[in-house]
């Protein structure tokens, strides 16, 4: 598995069929779509209002509302605001939307549930407050899911990502049988035990919006109240992205770039900034780039089974180097006053 795919696999927009050729979809097979009013409020939230509602809600909880990280990542967890900030002794609260790329999941825009580029909503509360579950349930109420009418449950789902040496315990949160979020208490990141435990929430935004709006295809989602659909915004991106990921991306180039990134990480980490601190953040961006390049090579079918573990191990080593330096830097900072 690609390192990205190890994270939050089940939060891909909907289902996760493997071996599925891009050109066919369950939708083509003549199943009558079930369109149901699943909401209790008169007008369900548009895709962007869903985001705005979550922003307003988590802002109230003292979160820094960040914008997405500007490097391609496979999941919101990989944003440095989560992976790196989960380490060390500094409290931290942030929420942000992160575009997530899974090149291998592209279906040329023909599958109503699958995208190679989609959005996750990510919240990190460090240390987790003791009422974090209640806060999370409050966010569901805020977007119109009333837990006295909908069946909300916390079902065991432990998160582990051997590629970044990270694991945590938590749940998938089910709403009427559908997984709407992942909820994790980080225990280790980059092979290091965390000092303060961060609680992490990941909402699969498209899936949640489909549920809230009662539509059967991602592309039919109302993006805003003015009638713009998700398809109008992103269908072309899916078509072109899938074509690039599966057909155009040049494996030799990707491989060379991967190796370049790999070489850069230790080189960057060896440098120090103006206050004598290690230069971790740019190095970590290079890890993310290496990871995305690996995912692209994988989508092109260029990674043999036997090579996979090797690539994953290489990315993990890079991520661990960054984690180590991040913690050292913070310790140095404290020691320095």
């Amino acid at each position: 598995m690609a390192w990205d795919n190890l994270i939050r696999t089940s939060l891909r927009p909907m289902v996760r069929p493997r071996f599925q050729p891009p050109s066919r979809t369950p939708h083509d097979l003549g199943l009558r779509p079930l369109t149901l009013g699943l909401m209790t409020t008169a007008e369900p939230l548009s895709f962007q209002d869903l985001i705005l509602t979550l922003h307003a809600y988590w802002s109230e909880q003292g979160c820094v509302i960040l914008q997405p990280h500007d490097v391609e990542v496979g999941a919101g967890t990989l944003h440095p605001a989560t992976v790196l900030r989960a380490l060390g002794k500094k409290p931290w609260r942030a929420a942000y939307v992160q575009p997530s790329r899974r090149p291998g999941d592209g279906r040329y825009g023909e599958n109503p549930n699958r995208l190679q580029h989609y959005y996750q909503y990510q919240v990190i509360l460090k240390p987790n407050p003791i009422d974090m579950q209640a806060l999370y349930l409050g966010s569901l109420r805020a977007i119109g899911l009333d837990p006295t009418l909908h069946d909300v449950r916390f079902v065991e789902d432990d998160w582990e990502n051997p590629t970044v040496g990270a694991w945590g315990l938590g749940w998938e949160v089910w709403c009427d049988g559908m997984e709407v979020s992942q909820y994790t208490y980080f225990q280790q990141v980059g092979g290091l035990d965390v000092d303060l435990v961060a609680g992490e929430l990941t909402y699969g935004l498209e899936r949640l919006a489909m549920y809230v709006q009662g539509v059967d295809s991602i592309f039919d989602l109302k993006f805003n109240k003015a009638g713009v659909t998700y398809g109008e915004v992103f269908l072309e991106n899916e078509r072109q992205g899938s074509t690039y990921n599966f057909e155009i991306a040049d494996v030799e180039t990707l491989k060379r770039q991967f190796e370049d990134m790999e070489r850069q990480v230790p080189r960057i980490l060896a440098h120090t900034g103006p206050q004598g601190q290690p230069v971790v953040l740019p190095a970590y961006d290079h890890v993310l780039k290496a990871s995305h390049l690996f995912n692209l090579m994988d989508a092109r079918g260029a990674i043999a089974v036997a090579e996979r573990q090797n690539y994953i191990g290489r990315i993990r080593d890079l991520a661990k180097m960054c984690a180590q330096k991040w913690v050292e830097a913070e310790q140095g900072e404290r020691a320095g006053g």
Binding site: V15, F19, P127, G170, Q187
Partner: protein, 669 residues
């Protein structure tokens, strides 16, 4: 006598861990109280999604007072030694007792308060609780399965005060997450606790939750003229997912019924934790499902069911997509794909494994009465479904999907064998009896075993990552159920023959013991080293029958005496060997025993040769009288060495004759 109530209230505990947690809590608390000498009448524990609860009755409020005696110096010891002893005991010289010239201090220990002991015990239990996986949270260091939120601890209605990592014990807990009064509430004792929880929509006891689910699920089915497909494993799991479990019957698009029922059930069960539903007297499933919600909503479940139906439709659409796509490619054509799949780094690809299984199935076929070509064909296709979309999505349908995909284009015997060749998968699973299936099932498991043994990946202790014990047990059950006559070692490559045969002997022993056979009888047969499992078990069965309701000590007294004399003699030098004769002047009992042995020995040999172990045993039994008479009337150790040697030879032959059936020296020990 007081009641103890303890509740450990946390965020949602994984369903699969709850039962064990309740057992562990009971065990640990019992051990703590016993260690401290605190008696109790009854102790019960309960586990649910958010709480572990313990109630115990009949506790004293304090330990009994005890007198403790400490030995001190001799009465005439130097002043310094005495002073030290007085200091350490806090007594004066005249309070000491003198006995046999030694001084003793008798100290009265007041019994400690039970509350104090409980506070310490809970601390120890919480900090050392054996969760399969535990975690820290927030800024704390305490570990629990998920964040621990509250502790209720009441003894005789009063709070037992303590603090664990910032968490302070009290008398306040919470009810259902979403239903009823959300405010935390106080409790006074277990009865009050249970009543208030019930009023706040929490069913405390897992058994009650299961009953509620089962009754409710049956009722919602019956209301629509339907029938629940019961599933104990699922029932157990969902009872750990809801504090107020509420079964609801949902609808499924009947178009999905064209899918194999195994697919529908697996999708419902593994992804959604739904029960399947059928119409009474009808084959297959009905287009409905039962979901167990955690709330009884005010709209009667309309929204919940609509949502669940939609999710299920999405799941089954995928399944139908796989079902359609998978059948476009023949299993033969899928074999090629297995060349790219590594089975194990040291054991090659799946394709190479298929080739090995194919050859082995062909070899085994004649032993089980199967057509070798059919067995080889089935073996060749048995793993092809691993490359299908459906098995990629539902690994537990491996074999079953291959069976479906082969049906129609392959002979039924082949499709059946593909479907069933993973069986038996566990002690509760059925054992195939169709010859082609048996051949492939044996070949599959034996290849796994020989493969991993040849790269030295044998199970050790509790580590058995490749489930080799289960594979061996599967082979054993296939062989015994189908009475497959084969010398097991002949099926293994020379390099692993000894190890693997010994491994099988071990597994068979364990299985027979688990089934309740006597250890000594099992051992007495195993020591013979036979590797025909059917014969081994037949021997053990014959011994078991023979010795049933018998005083083994009496039956074997003569044999054992012969064996121990031989053992003693063997220590002195080589035992005499050769034919036994009735020497002139031999006592009647000796002559009689020789005559009996000459008569019995060939009969026993013949019976064993014909695998008539029951008759062999009863024939051996005929020797009991003559042996007993011999030992009553004859002294083996005669001064005349010819006579003595002749008698030793006789005993030796008796032992050899017995040994044809089993090593009786291991019986009854």
């Amino acid at each position: 006598m007081a009641e103890l109530l303890l509740e450990l209230f946390s965020e949602e505990i994984p369903a699969r861990m709850q039962r064990q947690a309740a057992d562990d809590l009971a065990r640990l608390m019992r051990a703590q109280l016993q260690e401290q000498g605190v008696a109790l009448d009854r102790l019960e524990t309960y586990a649910g999604p958010r709480r572990l609860t313990l109630v115990a009755d009949g506790l004293p409020l304090s330990q009994a007072d005890r007198l403790e005696e400490r030995k001190g110096p001799k009465a005439n010891a130097p002043e310094q030694a005495l002073a030290g002893f007085l200091r350490s005991t806090g007594l004066t010289r005249d309070q000491l007792v003198e006995r046999d010239g030694v001084l003793f201090a008798v100290i009265e220990r007041k019994g400690r308060q039970t509350a104090e002991i409980i506070a310490e015990s809970v601390d120890k239990i919480v900090r050392g609780f054996p969760w399969p996986k535990s975690m820290r949270w927030g800024a704390g260091t305490l570990r629990w399965v998920r964040p621990l939120q509250r502790i209720v601890c009441l003894l005789d209605g009063r709070i037992v005060p303590f603090e664990i990592d910032g968490l302070i014990s009290g008398d306040v807990t919470e009810g259902h997450r979403f239903m009823g009064d959300p405010a935390p509430f106080q409790v006074t004792d277990f009865a009050d606790y249970r009543r208030k929880l019930a009023a706040r929509h929490v069913v405390l006891d897992a058994a009650d939750r299961m009953r509620r689910i089962l009754d409710g699920a049956r009722a919602v089915c019956a209301a629509r003229g339907l029938e629940l497909v019961e599933d104990d494993g699922l029932l157990d799991e969902v009872s750990g997912l809801a504090e107020w479990p509420t079964p609801m019957l949902g609808d499924m698009d009947p178009a999905f019924l064209s899918l194999p029922p195994e697919v529908i059930r697996t999708s419902m069960r593994t992804h959604q934790k739904y029960f399947a539903v059928r119409a009474p007297g009808q084959p297959g499933l009905a287009p409905h499902f039962v979901t167990v919600a955690n709330i009884a909503p005010t709209d009667g479940g309309k929204l919940i069911l609509a949502g669940n139906s939609k999710v299920l439709a999405g799941r089954l659409s995928d399944a139908r997509f796989f079902w359609t796509e998978d059948r476009k490619v023949s299993l033969d054509d899928r074999l090629e794909k297995l060349k790219g799949v590594t089975f194990h780094a040291k054991l090659g690809t799946l394709y190479q494994r298929v080739e090995r299984i194919e050859a082995l199935a062909r070899r085994i076929a004649p032993l089980v009465g199967a057509d070798p070509d059919l067995a080889a064909r089935a073996a060749r296709l048995a793993k092809a479904d691993l490359g299908t979309g459906m098995v990629g999505e539902f690994p537990e349908l491996q074999g079953i999907m291959g069976g479906y995909y082969a049906r129609g284009t392959e002979p039924d015997a082949v499709a059946d064998a593909i479907r069933d060749h993973y069986k038996p998968q566990g002690p509760a699973d059925t054992v195939p009896d169709a010859p082609v299936t048996v051949a492939v099932a044996l070949a599959d498991k034996i290849d796994t075993l020989t493969g991993f043994f040849s790269i030295d990946e044998k199970p050790t202790g509790s580590r058995d990552p490749f489930a080799l014990r289960r594979a061996a047990l599967g082979v054993i059950r296939l062989i015994l159920t189908n009475r497959v006559r084969v010398e097991l070692r002949s099926l293994f490559p020379a390099a692993v023959q000894d190890d693997l045969t010994a491994f099988f002997a071990d597994r068979l022993k364990v299985m027979l013991r688990d089934e309740g056979r006597r250890h000594d009888l099992v051992d007495a047969v195993f020591v013979l080293g036979d590797d025909d499992l059917v014969r081994v078990v037949a021997r053990i069965d014959a011994l078991t029958d023979y010795f049933r309701d018998q005083d083994i000590g009496a039956v074997l007294a003569g044999y054992n005496r012969a064996a121990s004399i031989l053992k003693a003699e063997a220590r002195k030098g080589p035992l005499p060997d050769g034919p036994v004769t009735v020497l002139p002047g031999a006592p009647v009992a000796e002559a009689e025993l020789i005559r009996s042995l000459v008569h019995v020995a060939p009969l026993v040999e013949a019976a064993v040769r014909n695998e008539q172990f029951g008759p062999a045993m009863s024939t051996l039994g005929d020797l009991r009288g003559p042996i007993d008479a011999f030992f009553e009337q004859v002294l083996v150790n005669d001064p005349d060495s010819d006579i003595r040697d002749n008698r030793l030879k006789l005993l030796n032959q008796i032992r050899d004759t017995f040994y044809i059936v089993a090593d009786f020296s291991l019986i009854g020990g």
